[in-house]
Symmetry: D2
Subunit: 467 residues, 4 copies
């Protein structure tokens, strides 16, 4: 229900399985929460790469015929949150292309902070850009390297980019994964039979019965080929920059993220939140589904009953037709409904994982009150979101982040809550049981671990729309 | 996750609102859980009825253009679980037709037990049947009545039918609701501005901000017209026959069903279950989403922690492409995944609301064990399902109902649970706080409240397929 | 290019072929010119009838899967010009239904003049109408007959209807064809292997290599069953009422219509036209494609060169998007274009088969002049269309028929031709080499061979729209 | 009906019209015969280029919404015969990209003979190829030029390519057309209001009421911008290499091709054919539609009556479902049918414009005989097709060209004709009234006017399939 933060992408790759594209399809399904607007698979048979990409959910983009056409025992796939509108298809990944060494396909999760700069350089060298994506920049850098095997080219190309990337490459004879030196986005290695799997999250391994081996380390290249799996460090891991928001909201609850169970961490966030911002109340209700574990933790820590006072519809698509006449809170109401008996006459703690613009929280608080709650105490299992992300999360501008311009009491007033409590940054790291040093929390702290482009240089305008 | 029981239908009607068809669309969306395979709306403007029906979810069947074409301030709608395959469209409702008194549309939730008999009679009188549905039978009966206004014709027609029906009728000048004398299926009345709403469940009223007034009583006709709302009893309510399974599984948690909150009742079912069938365990996990309230109740009653040890995907459609190579438990795994940290090394109570064929439970138990559960105790918040339903629920045949041929211990063995416990019939009524007398529990008890057709007469074969 | 006259329907039936539905699909394709807006097939296997109907061209409505589902060795099919808009699907035929004697499907080409009267009667008897079509009326009449085998029921039912009908019936054990006593619409019998074919035109027989046997006679019932083919007269053929417009425009050029080759007759119409309305000119050009044979005949008779001065596009669909800014004659220009070299500096005779509203002819004349024609003489291979058809052709109202209110010279002025000449009624019968007595020419003469309904009674309004 | 030769593409561009994309849509419709498998438009508003491309006919690819999104007063469009299968979309043009000087879109009709060589060079320089098309090569060459305005870059880039090209370029501030020095493919200039139009054929100008000015000369660049129209020669026209097959078959009859009316030339081809290869016969029938003008000319020259003995269906799509059981000549029969009365008992001359594999001609001859023709004399208004085209026409391999391995008598025997006569090369130039020197007739003569790549170098394999 987060009103504004969206993961950009998820990636999946497999090597050495007769049903490679089919398992990629399943893996992408498990990663669907990381991107719902476009999906694609590129499969290889040692000679040719075959691609199928489309706009929509994984189950919509692929059918039996398109999967059957993606023959071969190796494949990579991608789901993305894409620019809506006419360019959605042009943005779909993996990006397949041919260069001097043959065919290559790229799938990218993350965001390069120096992409515009690199594009300007490439312009100078006569490159043409057919998509608006950063991924094509990486393709050009690899192609422009003078000589060397693919892993060397990739290493040199990555030496020029800055920012967040968990990348998969599929060539004729190898599957390669790479993760930026700070390790912003997750990327894990699994084993399935005689082959290997690379995926954004472990939940994709579980679905296909692959065994989780370990993370691709920040600054590491993983090369899967007929020679098996090789690991190669291409950059020193500085302090880590793992995204804390993956823990708080993005990753799937059953994923083992950066070595910790997501659901478990979220319950601990709820417990910390209860310690920091307790409330006198009769019931703790989550904003489903992502608020559930924190609410369970909160309820346990405070000894208040937990209940599903908000019920979530299973049938919400994106194309719901709005009635022309206003119905109060309509938008949120097709997704959520209040369970009156769990709320009526009660002091309610409602737990959510983020509060971005505040508009959704406002509707939820009103819905709880309309259902009879006598008090509503909103608790957020994260600190106030104050800064935009430059490392792969689609965030509103600072102006739209309500916490960046309003004190907590004003936000509480705006959303209509009797009290509003955020978890502190320290609380997060207590819940994680880890040092802050390994993580990126720039959206809360403004501490960007990579130099951002000079705002004075402006943004390279988009000159081509559509596909 | 119930592997075999499906509600047949949901109905919605509105009178006296400028956006009648749009609100019907919303109402059907709220009732989507009652039927996912076809949907339709018939709207009226006082002169003409306009219909749009299709196969699929409400959000797929309608778009802005089709809703705009359904002009007028009155409408009825229908969602249905329909025979899959070529006849899905022919089965879609509401059924509009023209007869001596003008146009009329019918929407039906329920099942007539004497439909075949009535069809034979109608055959004799020269009727033609263009659909396989019971609803067309009611249409014929109304049209064949000699004279009388529509409500009288309906009353006389309903005098000839036997079984379960919550019916809506839309004529040029009136909207009529009717509920069978035993009241098997729910049907409620709401008020919206100057108009009225009739709907299968109160959740449909809530979505559009209509005020809940009361149930349509069993054996009652409700007539909405320019003269306002009139209520007319057409049959004595015998003992009630409200479907207990609506409480246990079908109705939406936020619905006020037969006067009681669904979610609350389900929590009480969980508490009774804990009392009748306690288990020594470390954690109580529900089979999401329908098992959640009973699991909360169970956990509270036993004082064991509740946790979401099974996570449910939001992206499951019906057309998922199966991999050709077997993956263990694949089918259930795209829907559910185990949260290892909540399960590993623990004795787990898993709570579901029904166990029909046993195949799904078996996969879930295996999944819990694979995630590290040391013991798995399966608890069902209902008695064993022993008999098929003839009153509007699609049930497997007796042969397929595992409990009808196997004792509990064998079922436990089949599903792989360390223990299996059902709630008793008495437990249900204790949870409801009501006498059994007002309810139908034939699927558990075999006590059918309406005489079933003589099995010797056979079933009237379906002679036309497709549309 | 006729701007206003449209054939209503075409029918095809086959008995005794393993690929019955596939051959019906081909037969309907050959009859596609008789109806482009909806198509359907009902196939039988001796037990069950299976139906598939849809909106669009035959090639769009059916795919390999839907054809494969239509199993059995007998089938009937239908193409129709259907009311556009939401009721298109409700109008699609064949109409399958179940009645006392089992399943039955009807496909109808024609129009009943007493349908409204019959509907009123049926209303009285309690019938319900689910479609707006005359075909459903015939279904009711058959079902309401007391006793008797299907052929007897059909004969009695047809005794009550008046107007034009070439009908096909498919029951479990027989395929029946019937043609009204005046024989307005064509219907022929063919032989294919051990089976039989009934079709609107012989071109459908040719496509599937069936042998043409003869026409179904006016007033005749043809029954195909396990006993072979039986023919039974159910009404005396009065004078015939074969539609002359089928010869002039509707039927396909390669069809043998009412015993005469369509293309050949049209050439003779052109020759008669040249005799009656010669023109001093340098070239004769047809309005393609339907005007081609008459133009060939005209050119031969006058000894003027024939040329394709107007070229027709192969890619014209119905959904062409109009530019918002006016382009002169745009509408006709996407279909037709002028070949300058064949026209420039020449006196041109342009031959068309009808002139209904005059707007299309006007655009064509302007196009010819723009291409350099010095004179344009328009010749129509038919008399002025003065009266609407009540027997199965969709005609504009009298007000829209330009010839019904304007003398020839004014029409010539309106369309911009230097001269305008129609063929006389006598000329038609000279070209046919037949007596007028066997034909219906009501659209030219106003001599309706069947009593029309009293205009005072008005038209039964359509009360249900959509599907 | 030509069984094997397909034009590759058609292009259309417009500058200075408020409805630029809509007129492009119409223009592409007029050029639809040049490519039926993919279509696209790129429109510009001075800042941004907007693209919409898709697989299918023009009328299928675009709808009102997509046209409306293509805002701006300048646009280029493309229709293409595309590799069927998964790469159809990747092949769709125009190809839009961004390079150092901003956005640019290319539309190409033709074929480069040194594309593979250039790709190898570009590989060396680090280019990446995202499509299999030659067009992308040209894009790279333009981008890699050091400095200079777009026209200069284009001129230098075209200096490196060899083969056939009629090219359109759309940049922010100019529309550019270019034609190769031999002028293989047509490209014409038109005037519409204050703006200009560039198109493959004049028929596209006629449809939108644009005035034909002249051809883009071989070796000429035409630049349309705010400064009006500039023409610039970038290569000396050697002898011309205009494609004679455009005259014989590809161009639309109403087009003014290379300065001559297509329909008129084809009639003259027929006349020459009659002189070279007369036949004693009773009727001359064309293979419609492309054989019609030659048949008219043949009939006139020999004084034999012309008739439409073969009728062509208007409803033939590409997805017709074949019956599993063989029906003789089925494939051709859904497209063509014989008009018996025009053929029975007659000696028939049938005129077609090409005979490639011979299989279609064989079916047609059989169809004519089955309709009663006593003799069938096949006349082809072109010489035997002996060599593949390398300049933009999709031809079978030499092995599949029946004439390249069989003498005329054997071909006559294969197709079942009593006699077979081709037009001579001399006859073509007599009909054109031109010297052979200005034309390419390599498909007949093997005289390729541009050096072909060394066959020893092999073909660069396609490494990426799909999109």
């Amino acid at each position: 229900m987060s009103d504004g933060l969206k993961e950009h992408c998820g990636v999946f790759g497999i090597w050495g399985h007769a049903e490679a594209s089919h398992l990629t399809y399943l893996g992408l399904h498990a990663l669907q929460h990381r991107g719902q607007e476009a999906a694609g698979i590129v499969a290889g048979d040692g000679e040719v790469l075959r691609a199928h990409r489309g706009v929509g959910l994984v189950a919509d983009v692929f059918d039996a015929a398109s999967l059957a056409s993606l023959s071969g025992d190796r494949a990579i796939g991608h789901v993305r949150y894409s620019t809506a509108g006419p360019s959605a298809l042009a943005n779909a990944q993996p990006l397949p292309f041919n260069y001097a060494r043959g065919p290559l396909a790229l799938a990218h999760n993350g965001n390069l902070v120096n992409a515009d700069e690199l594009k300007d350089d490439l312009d100078e060298q006569g490159a043409i850009f057919q998509t608006p994506s950063d991924t094509e920049v990486i393709g050009h850098l690899i192609a422009q390297e003078r000589g060397g095997e693919l892993p060397d080219r990739i290493v040199r190309a990555l030496g020029r980019v800055s920012g967040a990337y968990s990348l998969l490459f599929l060539a004729r004879d190898q599957l390669i994964g790479a993760r930026d030196p700070l390790g912003f986005r997750p990327l894990v290695i699994g084993k399935l039979g005689i082959g290997y799997v690379l995926a954004s999250e472990t939940c994709a391994l579980d679905l296909i019965d692959a065994e989780y081996l370990c993370e691709v380390e920040p600054g590491e290249l993983v090369i899967v080929s007929a020679r098996g799996l090789e690991r190669r460090r291409f950059a020193q891991e500085r302090r880590g920059g793992r995204c804390v928001f993956e823990h708080i909201y993005f990753a799937r609850p059953d994923t083992l993220l950066f070595g910790q169970g997501v659901h478990e961490v979220r319950k601990r966030l709820g417990r910390e939140l209860a310690r920091e911002r307790p409330a006198e109340a009769d019931v703790v209700v989550p904003v489903p589904d992502s608020g559930v574990p924190a609410a369970i933790g909160f309820a346990e820590a405070q000894g208040i009953p937990f209940d599903l006072g908000l019920s979530r519809s299973h049938y919400v698509g994106r194309t719901f037709i709005e009635p022309s006449q206003s119905i109060r809170h309509f938008g949120v109401r097709v997704k959520l409904s209040a369970v009156r008996e769990s709320l009526r006459g009660k002091r309610v703690v409602v737990v959510d994982d983020s509060l971005v613009r505040g508009t959704t929280s406002r509707k939820i608080v009103a819905m709880l009150r309309a259902a009879g709650a006598t008090e509503v105490h909103l608790r957020i299992s994260a600190p106030p979101t104050l800064f935009p992300c430059h490392f792969g999360i689609d965030t509103p501008t600072r102006q739209e982040l309500i916490a960046s311009s309003h004190p907590v009491e004003e936000i509480a007033r705006f959303v209509g809550a009797d009290s509003l409590g955020y978890l502190s940054l320290d609380g997060i790291y207590r819940a994680l049981g880890r040092e802050r040093d390994g993580y990126c929390d720039a959206c809360f702290s403004g501490d960007y671990l990579v130099a951002l482009p000079d705002p004075a240089r402006g943004v390279r305008p988009l000159r081509i729309l559509g596909s």
